[in-house]
Subunit: 161 residues, 2 copies
């Protein structure tokens, strides 16, 4: 206690954050942070002698990246690979390129599909908002399978059990 490394700070920009603070600033939740750590997304943080995690403010950027990537549809394990490659100093993200390119393609396709569908939906929407009726577009897609076919519960004519 005589020597508290509490806040010499100042070195670079390493303001030591405890997990709760990280949670607050990142909006990610303590449990999730630990979960990320377990999952290898964060790289283990420093510890105080008593075992408390101490984070460098930079972790916030990382978390931000993670969130963004997630929103884009990257899975945690992909994100992990991306980060791992980068971290490992492995030449500029060899497989990351793969992942990214791949994602990019998928992205493109989903974009197209979504746009197409959006048009469809949007059209149907306005159309039936005006008419108060829909004729076939969206709900037309549902159409059929008239749910009311079943026999009155013939469930067990045979004697099972």
């Amino acid at each position: 206690m005589a020597l508290k490394d509490k806040k010499p700070v100042t070195t670079g920009s390493t303001v030591p954050l405890k997990i709760g603070e990280v949670a607050k600033h990142s909006g990610i939740g303590i449990e999730a942070l630990r979960f990320y750590e377990r999952s290898g997304l964060l790289g283990r943080p420093g510890r105080t002698q008593s075992g408390y995690r101490v984070y460098d403010a930079a972790v916030l950027k990382r978390l931000d990246f993670i969130k963004r990537a997630q929103v884009l549809g990257f899975s945690l394990s992909e994100i992990k690979r991306i980060i791992a490659d980068k971290e490992a100093g492995k030449s500029p993200c060899l497989e990351v390129r793969e992942i990214v390119r791949h994602r990019l393609e998928e992205l493109g396709e989903r974009l197209k599909e979504m746009r197409r569908y959006r048009r469809e939906l949007g059209a149907a929407l306005t159309q039936w908002e005006e008419t108060g009726e829909l004729d076939g577009h969206v709900c037309g897609l549902i159409e059929g399978t008239d749910i009311e076919h079943s026999n009155p519960t013939p469930r067990r004519l045979t004697k099972r059990s």
Copy 2:
């Protein structure tokens, strides 16, 4: 490679498909079909006296709808609501409109985000494919948290059991 129309396929007349056939034609898998049924997405099909499910070919359209909706990010329970409303003859999908409109908005936003990010990623990709180096864009997003802060596992200086 249409369905075997061994029977007059006139209005709603049930070309009886057994679950396996439905699975094959829809590409959805027997277990999943039963799961959907349990989840209320399909409305219970007819049964033979022996209890086998008998589907009307129309179910294939429904399944198609489900798949499409899923791809678009609708959850099964939303899809269920949509279908339920339609089925129930409830006036033209009142809440469906809500759902759809809502989705539409979300869709729009995600589209924008995705496009933005795609640009970023794409840019970084080509750039570092040319230079063989990346300088900051994508991987720059990762940046920081230099993983190597930890003390050599100081894990438990205190004695905790």
